[in-house]
Symmetry: C2
Subunit: 419 residues, 2 copies
């Protein structure tokens, strides 16, 4: 299991110019999105680049919830720039786009599908050397600063997929909790739900020693290895922080302690799921995002419709954990307890029900949209949602309980309305 380099602390962003000097970088690509380019996190980076005289070009055309096309635009920019280092300042959308730009500009002869996860792409292993990439997360959500994963919406297929390789993991993640202070309420909430699901899914994922096939050569093993004693430490720790701080972080933008803790929890959960993997909430979320109709979430300063990633994973979580609990009921019950359920008189066979109920209350308290129906889906969409989940076997096969198409249908149906 490989774990990333991270640096944590209020204000540590100011050192980024020095880090780039230490790397000997002569042409730096700074990536961000249009909204962030006007906000304090990007400012802090620009100040440090200026102070240390770093030569850079800025790309602020990252699409929130990136697509194959928006990845390609960034890749074109990267190829032209011939950069020797990358800096990504933003949420998962920016960090993932920057990973893809670094990868394909370092492997200019590759076809875009070469590195995209099979069966959608070819899933080729990355053997070219990449440039250093410093990731500066500004949401408290994806943990992308610690993972070798880049996710995008494949427009043609109307489904999200990604690239997964240790090679695209950032060289350094700079976790500066000051950056979380500018996040509006719903961005804190939705990115926080992503942390919640990363922790819950990696803790309940199929155990590493039950995964099959397990390629005999270690080099061929996937990044996602199933739950294991090391990822468990991170998942549980992240879950405890979510339980303690997420509500506070959402409700009070001045609550530095809560926002800083969520920022760290995001990296912790990233380290956990980056090794163990996620399963059904994520697998089912990709068509939920990909098939979006007209939903425009509050607080997102963008001009296209989208289902924020964290929302797309959390809406199915009550149904998913009610379904998976029979395989590891103790872990599901433990998670419910951490999230505040009183389990003193609980029966182990009710673990799934108890965790689902705890999650529903948690979401209700936080004014989350009432299920898939509230974001524009109806029963008629279920076949398409199921069809979009099937190619996500890279993650769905990590579910502790195998699922049929009927099971997936039932899970989507149960997620239409939560309260």
């Amino acid at each position: 299991m490989a774990i990333s380099n991270i640096r944590y602390g209020e204000g540590v962003t100011k050192e980024i110019g020095m880090d780039l000097q230490n790397l000997g970088a002569k042409r730096v690509c700074l990536m961000t999105d249009k909204n962030l380019s006007q906000l304090p996190p990007v400012n802090a980076v620009l100040n440090s680049l200026a102070k240390y005289g770093i030569n850079f070009q800025m790309y602020d055309n990252v699409r929130v919830e990136p697509t194959d096309q928006s990845f390609l635009d960034a890749i074109t920019f990267a190829k032209k720039g011939e950069f020797d280092a990358y800096v990504a300042v933003g949420g998962g959308s920016v960090m993932d786009t920057c990973k893809a730009a670094n990868l394909y500009s370092s492997s200019p002869m590759s076809d875009f599908l070469d590195y995209v996860n099979a069966p959608i792409g070819k899933g080729k292993p990355v053997t070219v050397p990449l440039k250093p990439l410093i990731a500066v997360p500004t949401t408290a959500g994806t943990g992308s600063e610690t993972t070798g994963v880049a996710i995008f919406d494949f427009k043609e297929l109307k489904v999200k997929t990604g690239i997964a390789s240790r090679a695209i993991k950032p060289t350094l993640g700079i976790i500066d909790p000051l950056h979380t202070l500018s996040m509006p309420e719903r961005i804190v909430a939705n990115s926080g739900f992503d942390v919640l699901c990363h922790a819950l899914e990696s803790y309940t994922a199929l155990p590493y020693n039950m995964r099959s096939p397990c390629p005999s050569n270690p080099i061929n093993r996937p990044a996602y290895q199933g739950s294991n004693p090391i990822s468990d430490v991170w998942a549980l720790h992240a879950l405890r922080i979510v339980a303690k701080y997420l509500k506070r972080a959402i409700r009070n933008p001045e609550d530095r302690e809560a926002r800083a803790n969520m920022h760290l929890a995001s990296a912790f959960a990233g380290i956990g799921f980056g090794n163990a993997g996620v399963h059904l909430c994520h697998g089912m979320s990709y068509p939920i995002s990909g098939l979006v109709k007209t939903y425009k979430p509050k607080d997102y300063n963008v001009d296209h419709s989208l289902v924020p990633h964290g929302l797309s994973v959390v809406l199915t979580s009550p149904a998913v954990f009610a379904f998976t609990a029979q395989m590891h009921p103790e872990r599901h019950l433990e998670a419910a307890e951490i999230l505040g359920a009183d389990i003193r008189t609980a029966r182990i066979k009710d673990a799934g029900f108890i965790l689902a109920d705890t999650l529903r209350k948690f979401l209700f308290d936080l004014n989350v949209d009432d299920g898939l129906a509230a974001i524009g889906y109806s029963k008629a969409d279920i076949p398409a949602l199921v069809k979009g989940t099937l190619p996500q076997e890279r993650v769905t096969k990590l579910s502790p309980r195998p699922q049929t198409e009927e099971d997936l249908s039932a899970l989507f149906e149960a997620s239409m309305k939560l309260y």
Copy 2:
């Protein structure tokens, strides 16, 4: 903070030949000690090397508790062999020797003192590229498979010191709990005490944001950064495992669950202290080992006198934590509780006393020698022990409470007898 690659599982050692093939290794150096060369862990590695047709040379001349001379012998072997990869199979003595052999054979013009920690050596930063090193720990103690540290006994000065650089951190640690089954009782105990102290010291070390000087350029920051929210996770988790499993692991060689858990705890605590650092128990342990007279510990199949590292750190632990507690009493109390103390009616100002008492009981239950007197020291040795501690400022300055020479004297004196 950088964290290592580790692979965990019963029997995973059998893959090591494939790992070396994947690395393209053509001439491998296999290091171990004489005792281990006859035991199952080395056998398992040899079988895998044979199966994958790996060309290697074996060096089994590692000294248990290495010295500058024993490091130099291994370095000479490594320089002659012109190896392209290293495999270390053993405890900290083997892994540390192998790190040094890899470092100096990759930097053949360097003087031995160049990389040794200042003020004893020159503490130069490592800028040469090293060969891959795969570490296979066979004790559950040092966590050296996860750290950039190599410790040796500097005979001339009669004091232990070391080399500390991220560059010497193993490329991969293979944690195969089967290897712990051949450990005799006292080796389990002493290496387990090392885990205990790594966890306690890194959890109570000076917080990262109170350390000074804090070099403004990240590249110049020491490996040991002070306690921080990430190392805390590892330290606490390791401490909980020690509390639950160390006694079982010592008493019953068949208790696989306990021995496997201690093997993982050793790596967890290593990741924790490898980033946060250790402080007084370790700083004071170096002269305790270095000045050894005639002590020959039970169960160590070696022909020279030595104080096993884990024993040398744990004997001062009651005195040390009674001394440091006033700086972070809550953390000391929390540690005592994890180790089994009933703190429901405890007063916070008694935290040091309570932790010290808990440690003394723990050691008494495990038949640990009754203090420094029992391993051959008397009051008359205290000035020499203090003198040997003074150059260990790399670690002692991480103590949450600054110490004078008189304080150190008093700590050694209080550690002469424990029960």
